[in-house]
């Protein structure tokens, strides 16, 4: 003991008492660490400036500044403890939440992931058909300069006639076969051209490359590359920017953007859509309006909300009661085999949750399931709304009680034994002792966890989805299942149909987040007195 104390006293650097530094070694580590971070930031900066990633650059130096201010100065000691975790939280939780909010004000989702510009070019490009009696070619690419500099030419060999052509954006001309070497049906050399190898062609065809969108005009259409072949195509569609109209040259049909729901489609006068493709737009708070006014949601809401609450409360309640009970019972030093008990009771928690849930789901099969067979029951667990709810709670209890058991065991250890013993000396019985001393103290440490456990179960998508998928459903309402909680229900609305509506789903996420927060805040008010005990 003396040795330890002496060493501590010896290291006690008087200069360090005001701040968080721990002596010379500590200062050194700090300098090295901060130096490394600044160094890395400096290293990255040119690349970021080069690619014009300004936001990134600001975030990067913001982090450096925060770290430097926190650790290089002696101001505000708590920050030294809070900054590391908080930085991570802000970057990878808070920022995505803000982005989710931003997404919730758009119509982002299936059919609207692209900009209008891209959508138009996709629609026109996808309409391109091979022209009547289209020629197909074997394609090689030649460069009049070096392989990397261009200008480039498509060297085309007609697969039908074997004629050889040179194609550029200006047009096509036939080449003298004598100037060309052909091996295995592929042009491998051409006079006046440096031939590109396949990797080079691929690279130049990438986005921003010189061969991207390379097209050779012909009388009937254009020749474009299809891998290392080329084919003569033409698209009947034309877009006119001034009138914002796509015209089908063959039929004369004109398509203009018409609003439908949260998006616009190119639609003709008869109301026929040219394509299911739309484009991304800001929709303001429309997604929220929809979440609160959708007649399906409002008619189902009360029932589902009540069950969601019940599910969360009962999940927390049952797991906590069982976990605490077992922890208390086994927390007596006289119980032999404590270690063994604890190890075995932890097992349900050691199996990855999704595997356990899927296995539980098979246990509940009414005819072949383990539960009915072992207990000789004839309960239609997953087909009856009541029993399905019981089943979900039972499985969730099994999955969750080891957590509570573990947490309570840990917390019980923290309660000074002498407090209890002192009380016993005063004549308190085990139960009174538990109720008056152990439980309140335990609750101080555990109450916040109960609240977050509530929040977790309130949005416990996995438990519902992997066990019942929200079912059973009744045919008169196939959108709201017997075990659906808000999150599984609304996500089915957002993702279950023909379109993934990410904007709408984001709005729902935000609403659920707020709802969970409000509920948690209410619970905190209730436990505030407890919390202040500490």
């Amino acid at each position: 003991m003396e040795q330890r104390v002496a060493s501590r006293a010896g290291r006690g650097d008087p200069a360090g008492t005001g701040g968080g530094s721990g002596g010379v070694a500590g200062t050194l580590v700090k300098v090295v660490a901060l130096g490394t971070i600044v160094g890395l930031a400096v290293m990255l900066t040119p690349a970021l400036v080069g690619t014009q990633q300004w936001a990134f650059l600001i975030v990067l130096w913001g982090i450096v500044a925060v770290l430097a201010v926190t650790y290089a100065t002696r101001r505000f000691v708590p920050a030294k403890y809070l900054v590391p975790g908080t930085l991570l939280l802000v970057l990878f939780v808070v920022y995505p939440i803000l982005m989710t909010f931003q997404l919730s004000t758009t119509n982002y989702g299936d059919g609207t992931r692209t900009t209008k510009e891209v959508t138009i070019s996709r629609i026109i490009g996808s309409a391109a058909q091979q022209v009547e009696g289209a020629r197909t070619f074997e394609l090689s690419v030649g460069s009049e300069g070096t392989a990397t500099s261009g200008p480039y030419t498509f060297l085309l060999m007609d697969t039908g006639t074997g004629d050889i052509f040179a194609g550029t954006p200006d047009g096509i001309r036939e080449l003298d076969p004598d100037t060309i070497t052909v091996e295995d049906g592929v042009i491998t050399a051409a006079e006046g051209y440096t031939l590109l190898d396949r990797r080079q062609v691929n690279e130049l065809s990438q986005q921003g490359g010189e061969l991207e969108g390379f097209a050779v005009p012909t009388e009937d259409g254009v020749i474009t590359a299809q891998g290392f072949s080329a084919v003569e195509l033409s698209s009947p569609l034309e877009y006119d920017e001034t009138t914002d109209t796509i015209t089908n040259v063959n039929t004369g049909a004109k398509y203009t953007p018409v609003q439908s729901g949260d998006r616009k489609y190119f639609t003709n006068a008869d109301g026929e859509r040219l394509s299911d493709q739309s484009w991304g737009e800001n929709v303001g708070l429309d997604n929220y309006v929809r979440a609160f006014t959708d007649p399906r949601i409002s008619s189902d809401f009360v029932g589902i909300f009540a069950w969601t609450l019940a599910f969360a409360v009962l999940s927390v309640g049952t797991t906590f009661v069982l976990g605490l009970f077992l922890a208390t019972v086994l927390n007596d030093a006289r119980v032999r085999g404590q270690r063994a008990y604890r190890s075995i009771l932890l097992l349900p928690y050691a199996i990855p949750g999704f595997i356990a849930l899927l296995i539980w789901s098979s246990f509940f099969n009414s005819e072949f399931g383990l539960i009915n067979n072992m207990l000789n029951l004839d309960i239609n667990w997953l087909g009856n709304p009541f029993w399905a709810k019981v089943a979900v709670l039972l499985a969730n209890l099994w999955l969750g009680f080891p957590y509570m058991f573990l947490v309570c065991t840990g917390a019980l250890q923290a309660i000074p034994a002498d407090l209890k013993e002192a009380a016993s000396l005063d004549g308190a019985t085990g139960w009174t002792n538990f109720r008056k001393i152990t439980f309140p103290l335990l609750l101080v440490a555990i109450a916040p966890l109960l609240v977050s456990s509530f929040a977790f179960n309130f949005n416990n998508f996995n438990a519902i989805f992997l066990l019942t998928e929200g079912g059973p459903f009744s045919p008169d309402n196939p959108t709201a299942g017997g075990t659906d909680i808000l999150i599984s229900y609304t996500y089915r609305l957002a993702f279950g149909g023909a379109e993934q509506q990410i904007g709408f789903a984001s709005a729902i996420s935000v609403v659920l987040f707020v709802l969970t927060g409000v509920l948690a805040a209410i619970q905190f008010r209730a436990t505030r007195t407890l919390e202040e005990v500490g």
Binding site: V77, P96, Q338, L346, I355, A414, D418, N459, G534
Partner: protein
């Protein structure tokens, strides 16, 4: 300095502080236990075993079923019973012999992710928890509640946003973009403060007099924190570490977005992919995988038990 030494020695055990006379009393139980009558033993201790055994039965039946399925070469839902009927290691062998599901690789990836995430988040959480427990600063309560609220946002709800975020990160730093283990670790580290509340609760129960004495003793904040406080809260660090570890092991939603290449998948996403594809006849293999996955958790728990069970008293210096 020397005059504060005895005091410093004392304060390392909170129980000493509250009741110095207590040490003599703790020994009373074990000798008394041997002489107890059965009736009294049962009333005080024996019934606990009964409760324990009932709990074990409840906990273990599904586990036995999984074990039994893993040892059954047919490995199907309907062919499996709770008690193993056959002992075949076929499913285990199959796990390690199919190059398209590199189980060993997934296992290592998972351990890599779990260890980095657990150590970092416990470290960050413990630091923050200490600040919340010991310092009184403006906005303390507000930040604590905000922290709790923010963490109620299930990260997977922000999957679309995370995807976009890491796409742009990957453009600048491909090493931590999508489809990298490092990027995935970072996302999980967003929850680095996940254990603050639990650890703070524990810090709160460590008497503050301890800090004051140590500061009088001349200890710096860093010394106080790493040398005195942290060792005292080992039980809760062990518990939270285990919780975080298990959390990482079971995470598959973000992993399925982040980890695409077979070589960098974690167990959860790798297995989920196969389970999703065919649940009916692959049960045996999944059961085997589940059994193997749970082994590190069990081992870790065995190792940590001494911290958890020993609690504070074992941490004190009683020579």
């Amino acid at each position: 300095m020397t005059q504060v030494n005895p005091q410093a020695g004392q304060v390392t055990s909170p129980s000493d502080l509250t009741d110095p006379a207590q040490r003599g009393e703790t020994s009373k139980n074990s000798p008394a236990g041997n002489k107890m009558s059965f009736g009294r033993w049962f009333r005080e201790v024996g019934w606990r075993h009964i409760v324990g055994i009932i709990a074990i039965v409840y906990a273990i039946i599904p586990i036995l079923y999984i074990l039994s399925a893993s040892l059954n070469p047919v490995g199907s839902v309907s062919a499996t019973s709770v008690l193993p009927q056959t002992f075949s290691l076929d499913n285990y062998v199959a796990l390690f012999t199919n190059p398209d599901r590199p189980f060993a690789r997934w296992f290592l990836n998972t351990m890599l992710v779990a260890i980095i995430v657990v150590v970092t988040s416990i470290f960050c959480s413990a630091l923050a928890a200490y600040a919340f427990s010991r310092f009184r600063f403006k906005g303390r309560r507000g930040s604590l509640l905000t922290l709790l609220l923010i963490q109620m946002f299930p990260q997977f709800l922000a999957a679309a946003a995370l995807f976009i975020l890491f796409t742009s990160i990957g453009d600048v730093l491909p090493a931590i973009g999508l489809d990298t283990i490092a990027g995935y670790i970072l996302v999980l580290l967003g929850g680095a403060l996940g254990q603050v509340w639990l650890i703070k609760g524990f810090f709160d129960s460590v008497p503050r007099e301890l800090d004051e004495a140590a500061v009088m003793d001349g200890a710096t904040h860093t010394q106080l924190y790493f040398k005195i406080i942290l060792p005292l809260v080992r039980p809760i660090l062990a518990v939270t570490g285990l919780l975080a570890f298990i959390g990482v092991l079971g995470e598959f939603i973000l992993a399925s977005i982040f980890l695409r290449d077979n070589e960098i998948k974690t167990l959860a996403v790798g297995l989920y992919g196969l389970l999703d594809a065919d649940r009916t006849n692959n049960l045996g293999i999944f059961a085997a995988a589940a059994v193997l996955t749970s082994i590190p958790v069990i081992l870790l728990f065995q190792y940590l038990q001494k911290f958890i069970v020993g609690g504070i008293t074992a941490g004190s210096v009683k020579g």
